[in-house]
Each structure stands twice: as C-alpha cells, then as structure tokens.
Subunit: 343 residues, 2 copies
DNA sequence: CTGAAAGCGCTTACAG
DNA sequence: CTGAAAGCGCTTACAG
C-alpha cells in the first residue's frame, strides 16, 4: 500500500510538501501540486485513517448508540439510524454503530479509546445511565430524547407535550367529547421513557381544560397482545368517539382491529396517531398522525454534534435543548363524531 | 488522557514492559504485572485505538455495507444488521455502518483508508458493482446474498431454490393442486436480485413435476399497491387454494386483504410465506412461513470473516458458499384445500 | 514556496 | 524476566 512517503518520492518532493499539497493548508506551486496529484493517481494513494487520526486527534467517525429494547418497536428505530447515518456522511463522517445491550460499557469503550469524535445517543431515558459517562468523556454528545438533566449535552426531541395537546385539541375542535389514548407499555415508563407520560399528562391537562373526557391506557408493544388491548379499551368505553394512539405497535395492529369490529375511520371512530410518515407508508396506516420526525431529529443531532466537534460551537457555549414542533399529517381518519341514536 | 508512557512511569517500568504486561504476549513477573495493573486503574488508562491500529495494522472494526433500496422493504434489513452487529461484538469487533447510496465509493473509502479489517456486504445483487472492488481490496469480504461470481469472497445465503421447492411440496402434500406465488417486484429482479427468480424458478419446476398448477406474479414492495396486487391475483385465480408469499410487504398486507375478502386461513385459503420469525412477530403475521434466518446469516458471515481476518483461514484456502436450508415454521395457516361444491 | 524533524501512542523485534 | 529503540503513516510547527 502506497504511503505519503511513496507519493513524495514519485513526485520528487518532501513528505511535508506532499501532505500540504493534499490538504491545501499552505501555498503550493502549481508545478509541485500537479506532480503530487499525478503521483497520488498513479499510486492509487489513500491516506491511512489510523495514522491520520493519531496525528490529528480526529477520527472523522461518530459513534451511534442504539439500544434495541425488548419492549420497544424495532422498526421505528431504523428511521433514526438512517437519519443520523446519512447526515453524518454528508458532513464527512462515518458511523460506528453500537447495538450492545450494555450501553455504558460500549460508550466507555469507544470514547476512552478515542475511536470516535463524538457520540449520538438514541432512545434516551429520563435518568439515563449513559449520561454521566458521556459528560465525563472528552468527546461531545448529542441526544435524541429528553433526559431530566440536560447539562453538558445537546438535546433534541419531539415536543411530546405539545403533541399531546394538539391531539386532544384536533378532535375537540371536530366536536369530540370523549376520547381514548393508547400509550406505550407502562414498563417503558418505569424504565424512564419520559416521552410516554409527557404526551399523556399534557393530553389529560388539555382535556380537562376543554371539558373532554379522556380515558388512557398503556398498550403492549407486541402483537398480538396489543390487538387485544385495543379491543379491550374500545369495549370498555363504547361512548368514546376518538382514539389517540401513541404506540407504534398499536397503530400497526389497528387496521385489523377495526376490521374485526366492523368499524371505519372516521365514520365510526376518529383516529389520530403519532408516528413517522415513513412508518405510516411501511405499514400502510391510513390514519392521520402527528409526525414524529425521526429522520429530522437524527439530522439535527448530527449537525449540532459536528458543530461542536469542529469547534464552531465552543465547549463553553451553552448546550441546546431543541424541541421539534409536532405537525399533523392529515390522512383523512378524523372527522365529526358519529351522531348517536337518541343523543 | 493517560498514555502507555504514563502507565509505565507510574509503575516504574519501561513502556514495552507495560505493553507486554497488558497484552500478555510475554512472561511478566507477578510483581511488575500488579504494579502495571494498578497504574492502569489509577490512571484510568485505555489504549488509543488509532495508535494501536497503526502499530498492528488491525483496527478491530468490520465494515457493514447496507443499502436501503427504494423498492425493498426496510424493516427486513434491520434483522441482518443486528445479526452482524451483535456477532461482531461478541468476537471483539465494532461495526462501521455504511448506508451510503454509492456503495462502490463507500467501499473504496473504508478499505483503502484501512478503517476496517474486513467487510460484510448486505443485499448482494447478481452482478454486484461492489464485488470487483472488494476482491481487489486487501481486506477479506463476506456476503449475505448470492452473486453469480463467488470468487474471492465468502458467501452466505438462504437456499432459495430449496425454499421454492419446499413451499410447493408442502401444499402439494396437503392436497393442493392450484397455487399462486407472489414474488418481490419485477424491478428487484432487473436490478439483479437473483433470490426472487431462484425461488420462483425452482417452485415452477417442482410444480411441473408434481402436476400442480402454479400462477406467479410480482407484487409491489409498498402499501397500498401490494394490497391491490393481492386482490387482483386472487380475483384472477378463483380456483387457487394455496398462496405462497415471497414478498415481505405482501405478507404484511395480507391479513387486511383476507379480512376484506372475508377469507380465513387455512379454512378458505392455505397461506405460506417466506420471512423471519422476528418479522412475523413484529407484524403479527399468523401465517406459516419458511424462515429466512437473517440473524443467522449475518452471524455466519461475521464468523467466517473473522476467521479470515485472524488468519485461521488462510488467504489461499478456498472460499465458501454456504446455503442455509429453509425451515418451515408452522403457524397453522396451511391445511387441506376446502372442498368445492360440485368438485 | 519548500524541507528536515519532531511527535501523535502504540507494538514488537532485538539485545541483554 | 526487562529495557532501549525502531517503526507504523500521518501532520505540523520550525527554519529557511
């Protein structure tokens, strides 16, 4: 394999000149520059990434910590990963993907050994074990998901509270007065998945203010349990005219459940979910939804991380907590509540 | 950040001794060993991965090239990625995930710059553009998917031909004599996705030998088109009593389609798919299927790749083409064909 | 505009 | 059993 020394020899210059000709970090005569470039081409030279990393303390690699938790819906994770990966590449970085169960150990390994210039954490819990480690690391970190303590890291998340309010309000304005909210499983909450109750609490508060009755339940994260959960909650609240779904597995199961009950949306029941458009297309979900924007969140996290890595944002500058505003994608599954006989 | 020099100084030994004490590559007195280990602990020392890579020419990183093609069903890809990633970690390797559209450029970048010790290619086409490059690279490569020319790489794939035969035979033995096979879209074939026609051709040949009528169609890879495709093919062949589904999107759409037609499996129609068990659980698919074993294939590819990287298998030793035998997972969706009135 | 040299942090023959 | 030194392949002050 050709080294910069080979390039220098063929071009008849010193190694430093060859290096500068390639980096453009100092003025080089036209003659020398072309000789170096020719040598590079003829030798098929590519810099050795490890050597460069050692010399510059920059790896051009970003660590991506994704956890595939038993009680979460894996396909939803893929969108975040792709958003991060594609944005990183656009900015000149590669991705070291870590799916290890023990996120703490993984984080320590890749930061201490300086394999990465920065880290993106997915699936951040309220009291995330990985955070103290990340704050102590010399590399900057960006999170997708909101922890209780945001110090020392840049944080990006959907505004789940606004989402909860928007979901209730949307159906309220259409005339609904009794709604059901299906959330993620309760053990997601116990594990620290604050996004579940952030949406749920805000929805309840908004419902209270509007005078809307809101029943809420935790649904399972897997089939077929979640289908049974949906049946159960619809059985339990026959007066409900609107269904809010903050649970991807439930959303995926809902078309079958509606079929089984002989219901259509919005004729019999208005339905409003919270998932990404990509998710809706993959699962052919015909329900209007609050866009969860995983690709956009992944993109924002990487952009900010790279700004920190490259010193555009100094280590002293305050960290950012940015919420993406929920946007409603109308797929026609909400409308006025059905007129009840005798109502 | 502490270096091996700091460790050596604190332990009162030379850098080489410190290094050997850590690697265990030569005998070390008990006294020195504990002093070194204590120094490591007190300093929180972790070796610099770049420096080690430069010295050893080993990065302990495996490149994973995944392409997310427009006409393929993304969630199915996740299982391969996790199989590769988890196995790599067990064997001490990290994963550099590349999702770039231009796989050729990506492959060149990570191999020429020696960022990785080896490469796993996912989603390999019959005449895959990345293969010539991979053969020319100094790192070994393992493929998931069967190209026409397997030279110079280790290849792992499901035995799609056996799968096609097994699917036909399974329903033949139950008494079915007219079947429909729904495959992936035809442009997957045009792009070089040989697995589509490998299964299809073998199914046709087997059907011919058994005297079974087999209709086959290409289905779309997205909703809602693929649902319409399913309706169309069932309309077109009212005499068919069995449905073979080699198309993940079609499998995911099928429960709704059956509902819409008022059919149940296996009472009205026997259904046999080809997808992973994980996929079946995620989408709550109640259909028996040929297990496509993505995690197992990813695992096999990484194992063999690591054997080559670590020299357990010499560069001269012949490359491997290994097919995983299809296994049928019975979910109770196949049975005897319904008795036709007047039949 | 260019070159000789030091240094990044490891590992591993070589010597004792 | 241990140490001094060379080398991996880059980049970047320092000097001219």
């Amino acid at each position: 394999m050709a080294t910069i020394g080979d390039v220098a020899r063929v071009a008849g210059v010193s190694r430093s000149t060859a290096s500068y000709a390639l980096s453009g970090k100092r003025a080089i005569s036209e003659d020398v520059r072309t000789r170096v470039m020719d040598a590079v081409r003829s030798l098929g030279y590519t810099p050795n990434a490890g050597a460069r990393a050692l010399a510059t303390s920059q790896t051009m690699v970003i660590g991506l910590l994704a956890q595939f938790l038993e009680d979460e819906f894996a396909p939803a994770m893929l969108q975040y990963i792709l958003g991060v990966s594609n944005t990183a590449r656009e900015l000149g970085y590669d991705i070291l993907l870590v799916t290890e169960d023990d996120g703490t150990r993984a984080l320590r390994r890749i930061t201490d050994s300086r394999m990465v210039d920065g880290v993106v954490l997915l699936n951040v819990a309220e009291h995330d074990e990985r955070l103290p480690l990340l704050r102590a690391a010399r590399q900057p970190g960006a999170l997708v998901g909101l922890p209780e303590d945001c110090s020392g890291v840049d944080v990006f998340d959907l505004d789940f509270e606004e989402a909860g309010r928007a979901m209730v309000d949307h159906l309220y304005k259409l005339g609904h007065r009794e709604l059901v909210l299906v959330s993620q499983p309760d053990h997601v909450v116990e594990r620290g998945g604050a996004y579940v109750w952030r949406l749920q609490n805000a929805a309840h508060e908004q419902a209270r203010q509007r005078g809307v009755t809101l029943h809420s339940v935790f649904g399972a994260s897997h089939q077929p349990e979640v289908g049974r959960d949906l049946h159960a909650v619809l059985d339990a609240h026959p007066g409900a005219t609107g269904l809010l779904v903050n649970n991807e597995a439930a959303a995926a199961a809902l078309p079958s459940v509606l079929h089984e009950r002989g219901l259509t949306a919005p004729g019999d029941l208005s339905v409003l979910g919270r998932y990404s458009d990509e998710f809706a297309r993959t699962f052919s979900l015909p329900f209007s939804s609050i866009e969860s924007a995983p690709d956009r969140l992944g993109r924002m996290a990487v952009r900010q991380l790279v700004r920190r890595i490259e010193g555009e944002v100094g280590p002293g500058e305050p960290h950012v907590v940015r919420f993406v505003s929920p946007e409603l994608v109308d797929r026609g599954s909400t409308g006025a509540p059905p007129r009840r006989t005798g109502g």
